[in-house]
């Protein structure tokens, strides 16, 4: 298979989050943290607003009593098609792949934090502390994901290590990747099945169909970042 043929067959990974099903339990946040070896947060990290949550529930309170609206939106990395973070990285530590996943290569990152500032979704996190797991807790580390040192930026990877493993398995079995074989940890864990994941370029895929729903919207769409995470608003 040559490079062009390969490119055609490549999926464009995207996510859809149905806010009408989401009950804001934050299972996605925890699933992500345990899957991706996020260091356990501490009261100190919380007080300094330095806890790392690749998938974070963002609360938004609007209005005055009694006409108050509380909106709760789970926010992963948007994996923008036009990502502002990449343009500012001086060392090429972050890049968009052919399948649309924004990668972060920790070993290259020099920790300048330009990207955390450039990201309008505040989806990027800086490692302010050396990664520490009290005593035996490090036993629960996921061997599929690296542990990041202090001083680098990290963010949601769409659990691409799961893609690597799924591809590896499919290749060994001499077959194509099956739909649903690769799911990020948050999507898999969602108790209300509010999250969908798949190939946005495949018109038959569930995500592609949902992304075209009249309820569909994206965060800060007018910035032209072209996020690949779509939300479905509440209501009929």
């Amino acid at each position: 298979m040559n490079e062009t043929e390969h490119a055609k067959a490549r999926p464009r990974w995207g996510m859809v989050i149905d806010l009408d099903r989401c009950d804001a339990c934050q299972g996605c946040t925890t699933a992500c943290q345990t899957e991706n070896n996020i260091p356990p947060p501490t009261p100190q990290s919380a007080a300094q607003d330095r806890s790392i949550r690749w998938m974070e529930l963002l609360p938004n309170v609007e209005g005055e009593y009694p006409r108050v609206k509380l909106r709760l939106i789970p926010r992963p990395c948007m994996h923008c098609d036009k990502p502002p973070c990449i343009k500012v990285c001086p060392v090429g530590a972050t890049a968009i792949g052919a399948e649309g996943i924004i990668a972060q290569v920790y070993a290259r990152c020099i920790g300048c934090r330009y990207c955390t500032t450039a990201c309008p979704y505040t989806a990027r996190y800086f490692n302010w502390y050396p990664p520490r797991w009290p005593e035996q807790l490090s036993q629960s580390l996921n061997p599929d994901v690296s542990v990041r040192p202090r001083g680098v930026v990290e963010k949601c990877s769409f659990c691409h290590h799961r893609l690597q493993k799924a591809r590896d398995k499919a290749a060994a079995e001499k077959r194509e990747l099956r739909p649903g074989e690769y799911l990020p940890a948050c999507v898999e864990a969602c108790p209300t099945k509010a999250m969908f994941f798949g190939d946005l370029d495949d018109p038959r895929s569930e995500v592609a169909q949902l992304a075209r729903s009249p309820r569909s919207f994206r965060l800060l769409e007018d910035l032209g970042t072209e996020p690949k995470v779509f939300y479905l608003r509440e209501g009929e």
Binding site: M1, N2, E3, H6, V91, G92, A93, A95, G97, A98, E99, I101, A103, Q104, V105, Y106, A107, R108, D144, V145, S146, V147, S157, H160, H161, L163, Q164, D168, A171, A172
Partner: protein
Amino acid sequence: MAFDYLRGVRSLIPLWAILAGCGSEVHQPVGYNHDVHVNKLQIGCDNCHAGSMTGQVAGLPTVSDCADCHAEANGTSDEEKKVVEAVKANRPLVWQRLYSIPSHVFFTHRRHVQSGGIACERCHGLMKNQKRPPPAPLVALTMTDCINCHRERGVSTDCTTCHR
């Protein structure tokens, strides 16, 4: 893409190497002779490195693997005596890894050997001719080698293909 991040980074920070030992020499418990086992006795790599074809890590033999042939001495070498003693005492032989992969790299032998059909020598050099265990990898691999090979074979060079 305006910025060839791969080339750019490599010229900026030429630090990439995928080998172990932190620069110090690796000492093995037994002076194992690959030449005898592979060339003379025609024993395949995966007999002792069980994961070298289909696993993630190639792996190192356990003492019970040695016991298959060395329950009793086959020859007179001092090194073999060590093995036979270990087998009889069921004492593990603690082999040291020569190669290791940094934790932020995803690599499997299955992908490269089984699916990709790459020969062991491409990354490991002529291990089969070694009469003593080498103190360092015969081939020092850098990320450049990975990238070159990926390009040669038309395999994706996205960061996410290997980095995790």
